[in-house]
């Protein structure tokens, strides 16, 4: 009987432990709806997702690496690097006489391809030369930052095609007061009349990528091997898994998502900056940890990381609405990260009991 009650308690704790993110999101929503006006609205929800796009992408980037037991400190500056590459390429292509659509497409694809390089090098250093992930990716942070600044030579890229901004700030659907509906293009309405814009395009694009990679992680052999490597690298090797190749792929996925975050930034703000993602590393790692992944590797899921990202995105938007400066966000996220780790430690035993 005694053990039964103990098990029951443990199970309850484990349940709470895995649900605390949801509890926290509700608390955030309550707090912000009490301290600002009109917080609980479709507009705010869209704003949270819109401003949070980079966080969602960087969280996913970091998740893959953290599952293998590594860490990628370079994501923020790889993101900045991607904004620089993308904006420079777009401006160049437009100057060369390509159409806006061609320029945007070509530079996006090229940016993603170039964006794989930092990950390739990170993965190669970690998997092949056994350089600690911390050192390899920390060096890459410096390298990408330096190259970004070199390419910019002091001035941000200019003359980007307007199309980039239209994608970055576009919506899937517009509804006018008179019930008119139009897709992608903001309808002409008399000055001052309100138009509802539904679902930011950039958020949809971001989540398409996240969903594809969630599928890969959850359903494929490669995904299973990522968890196996994080759980017991030697066992994975002995089972015939090509650990080196898989690790390189994982760091490339991380860089790919950092570059996607860079593209999202370029489309939204129509510029490229070396430090576009300088404060984002904290967000990425925090999102994964708040989402319940262990820094020791072997655990973590995309959807729980998305919840972790949501915690941060709600916080950022809420504090912005309250007119608090960016530094407040850093302080609060720092504390939440510490809290997440403590909660994780507290519930570790009950989680194990649950299995």
């Amino acid at each position: 009987m005694n053990t039964l009650t103990a098990n029951g308690k443990k199970a309850l704790l484990a349940k709470l432990g895995s649900r605390w993110v949801l509890v926290f999101i509700v608390l955030e929503l309550v707090f912000f709806s009490l301290s600002t006006t009109g917080f609980l609205s479709i507009d705010t929800a869209q704003m949270i997702l819109f401003y949070g796009t980079e966080v969602f992408l960087l969280g996913t980037a970091e998740l893959f690496v953290i599952i293998t037991g590594g860490i990628d400190l370079s994501v923020g500056f790889v993101m900045g690097f991607a904004t620089v590459i993308a904006s420079k390429l777009m401006a160049t292509f437009v100057n060369l006489g390509l159409s806006p659509l061609e320029s945007v497409l070509a530079s996006s694809i090229l940016t993603l391809l170039i964006g794989l390089l930092p990950g390739l090098m990170n993965g190669w250093l970690v998997a092949r030369l056994k350089v600690p992930a911390f050192i390899a990716t920390f060096s890459m942070l410096g390298i990408t930052r330096g190259f970004s600044e070199l390419l910019l030579a002091g001035s941000p890229a200019k003359n980007l095609p307007a199309l980039a901004g239209n994608i970055g700030n576009g919506y899937l659907l517009f509804i006018t007061k008179r019930g008119g509906i139009s897709f992608f293009n903001r309808p002409e309405v008399p000055r001052g009349e309100y138009v509802w814009a539904i679902v930011p395009v950039i958020v949809v694009l971001g989540f398409v990528f996240i969903a594809v990679f969630a599928f890969i992680l959850n359903r494929t052999k490669f995904g299973q091997h990522i968890y196996a490597i994080g759980g017991n690298k030697e066992a994975a090797e002995r089972a015939g898994i090509n650990v080196r190749r898989d690790l390189i792929k994982v760091y490339m996925i991380s860089s790919l998502f950092a570059s996607l975050a860079g593209l999202a930034y370029t489309f939204k703000y129509i510029t490229g900056k070396a430090d576009a993602g300088s404060g984002m590393l904290l967000n990425g790692i925090a999102a994964v940890v708040i989402g319940g992944a262990s820094m020791n590797g072997g655990s973590g899921s995309v959807w729980r990381t998305v919840l972790g990202c949501l915690v941060i995105a709600i916080l950022e938007t809420g504090l912005r609405i309250m007119n608090l400066q960016t530094f407040t966000t850093y302080i609060v996220i720092g504390f939440i990260l510490i809290m997440a780790v403590i909660v994780d430690q507290l519930f570790l035993n009950s989680k194990r009991a649950e299995g």
Binding site: R219, T220, K221, Q224, H225, Y227, A228, G230, G231, N232, E234, A235, A236, R238, A239, G240, I241, G298, S299, R352, A353, G355
Partner: protein, 250 residues
């Protein structure tokens, strides 16, 4: 005498140290050979040569009388030589059937093109092999982390058996277990032997050796110091071989 697996004059050097020196040994199908020796006697190196972790400097490995080249652990697995190390090499964060199928997962087509994990088939096949070995694990979806030492050993053994092991090498299979679980694992070894699998066991536990082994091979300082049939020997004699014949003469 026809060995299923045999080594002939196999040698491995690490710099100036000869870890395994001209060792010839073999194991028949349905036989349990115990490999004994003090620490540093070369037992582990010998099994790592057979399982493809190391490549021999001299000598050859024969399977069914035919010379085979083992360049890597994968080659050994492909030949039906499975090794269960002391640390079991299980991913504790994954469940039972995922570990049995680790690295060789069963897949099915999703949307007609993408290979996705086929959990149903893996769980079903795992259940079959566990039943065949009379192993009881409540849920195949339990992570290894939640299992006892004996259950983990059983999962590691099931994995080898599922993949058609002809030769099973076990490094200290009972070392980390309680008494009751030791018994279970030894019974499992006997049942594998009866199914015609050739088994090499490294063990320090004299009781285990006399309980399951048919033949004992003793290693000392890299060379084969002796080979005796279990029915013709006593633990004292075996200990004498392990520590050195000089001591025995005294």
């Amino acid at each position: 005498m026809s060995y299923l697996l045999e080594t002939k004059n196999i040698t491995k050097r690490f710099g100036g140290l000869t870890a395994v020196d001209q060792v010839s040994m073999g194991v028949e199908a349905g036989e349990v050979v115990a490999l004994l020796g003090d620490n540093g006697a070369g037992k582990s190196t010998l099994i790592k040569l057979i399982s493809g972790v190391y490549k021999p400097d001299e000598g050859e490995i024969l399977l069914n009388g035919k010379r085979i080249e083992i360049e890597s652990p994968i080659d050994a697995l492909a030949q039906g030589i499975e090794t269960i190390y002391q640390d079991l090499a299980l991913a504790e964060n994954l469940n039972v059937y995922s570990n049995i199928f680790l690295g060789r997962e069963k897949t099915r087509k999703a949307f007609g093109i993408i290979d996705v994990l086929n959990h149903a088939v893996m769980a079903e096949e795992s259940r079959k092999v566990l039943d065949r070995l009379d192993i009881h694990i409540p849920s195949l979806k339990s992570t290894i982390r939640t299992l006892s030492g004996g259950q983990r050993q059983a999962v590691a053994i099931s994995r080898s058996i599922y993949w058609d092991a002809k030769v099973l090498i076990m490094d200290e299979p009972t070392a980390a277990l309680g008494i009751a679980e030791q018994k279970k694992v030894l019974n499992l070894v006997k049942s594998l032997k009866n199914q015609g699998i050739a088994i090499i066991i490294i063990s320090h536990q004299m009781y285990d050796v006399f309980e399951v082994a048919d033949r004992i091979i003793v290693m000392r300082r890299g060379v084969k110091a002796g080979e005796v049939l279990v029915k013709d020997t006593t633990p004292d004699e075996v200990v004498g071989l392990i520590v050195g014949s000089e001591t025995v003469k005294k």
